[in-house]
Amino acid sequence: MAWMAWTWPTAIFFAVIALLLVIFSVLAIRYPETPRVGVLRIETTRGDRLFIALLGSAFINLAWLGLGAAPQWGALIVCLVYAAAVFRFV
């Protein structure tokens, strides 16, 4: 595994993503749902909303870094608010 150049922060990052995928898979099997239509006017399931939340969070982090004023953990707070909004309204 040394060739993959692992670091603790990236390992934690991937562990969180993997954990989220496992949780959402288990939820999808245990509590099947029908897709709903939210503010984007598209049908989404929990998995779709997770994808939208993660992809959006990546861009929020990049924008935060590009603007470069506040410390990076500030972006994490914005991402959590954004993810909550996605799960509630999309």
Binding site: M4, P9, T10, I42, E43, G66
Partner: protein, 290 residues
């Protein structure tokens, strides 16, 4: 009829998952690991944090390459999609000529990228190429190795030559699926040719056209071989598109950390646009199904 539900069938997907993990997920994870570190080789790494991302986002060189890339993709989509539709509409619908046209249209798609690049590189040369020589004989100054505009025209025409048939073939497949009754109804209503296109053909083609746009967007946004063989990114940096710049950075300069950060941003842009197209496509399908 009731659908059979068998969750164990998911295990049949396992081989694909293993293959994708091996060929895509693990390499991508490695890229993420590289993007937060610096290395001088020998598998020795130094923590760099988000430095390379900061550098990439502020880099004028990369932003310029992104601008050129977006321009290239926008231009080839603006040409290939309408041209592909026009070609599909002009193709015979049945008979031997339909087969001949289909084979002819498929030919450019079968040629490997580097060969297409080489064909156009020679074709455009003023000394030995047919195109370059003919233009020179007509008194038109054309030199794609020294003039940025000529280089751009060459790579755009080359891409149009190589990929318009993909759009045409997809649009043709969409047209073939329209039942004859639609045209007969339009004839009874004395609909004009434009109205037949606007209200029958275009809506029926919208699904395949979205696929065509998605495929052409993804392919053109990560295009490397053809422009690299023809212009090598030049003259100067005028045709250095994103992937050419990325390869220069990763392999030419061996800046693996910055190149990894650059790749991740590049990947995220493609992922976002592809997701938008995919969502539009699946929603169109659902609307049609209703």
């Amino acid at each position: 009829m009731e659908k059979t539900r068998n969750e164990k069938a998911w295990f049949l997907v396992l081989p694909v998952l293993v293959l994708v993990a091996f060929s895509a997920v693990i390499p991508l994870m490695t890229v993420v690991n590289y993007s937060v570190q610096d290395t001088f080789g020998n598998n020795v790494f130094f923590w760099a944090g988000l430095e390379w991302f900061k550098e990439t986002l502020a880099s004028e060189r990369i932003l310029n390459a992104l601008g050129r890339q977006a321009f290239f993709t926008a231009v080839i989509l603006a040409i290939e999609v309408p041209l592909g539709i026009l070609v599909a509409l002009s193709m015979p619908k049945r008979g031997v000529w339909a087969s001949v046209c289909l084979v002819l249209m498929a030919l450019p798609l079968l040629i490997p990228w580097n060969v297409v690049g080489t064909i156009w590189q020679i074709f455009g040369r003023v000394d030995i190429g047919l195109l370059g020589h003919t233009l020179a004989a007509m008194g038109i100054e054309y030199n794609y190795t020294q003039n940025a505009l000529d280089a751009w025209v060459t790579i755009i025409v080359m891409d149009v030559w190589h990929w318009t048939s993909l759009v045409a073939l997809l649009a043709y497949a969409g047209l073939q699926s329209i039942p004859e009754a639609y045209y007969q109804a339009a004839k009874i209503d004395q609909a004009s040719r434009w109205k037949v296109f606007r209200y029958i053909e275009l809506p029926k083609m919208s699904g395949v056209l979205t696929i065509a746009i998605l495929l052409r967007f993804m392919d053109s946004f990560k295009i490397y071989t053809e422009p690299f063989v023809v212009t090598g990114g030049g003259p100067g940096n005028s045709t250095t598109l994103l992937s050419i710049d990325l390869v220069k950075m990763a392999l030419g300069q061996f800046d693996l950390g910055p190149a990894a950060a650059f790749s991740i941003i590049y990947f995220l842009i493609i992922l976002l646009v592809s997701w938008v197209f995919f969502t539009v496509m699946t929603n169109l399908d659902k609307k049609e199904g209703k």
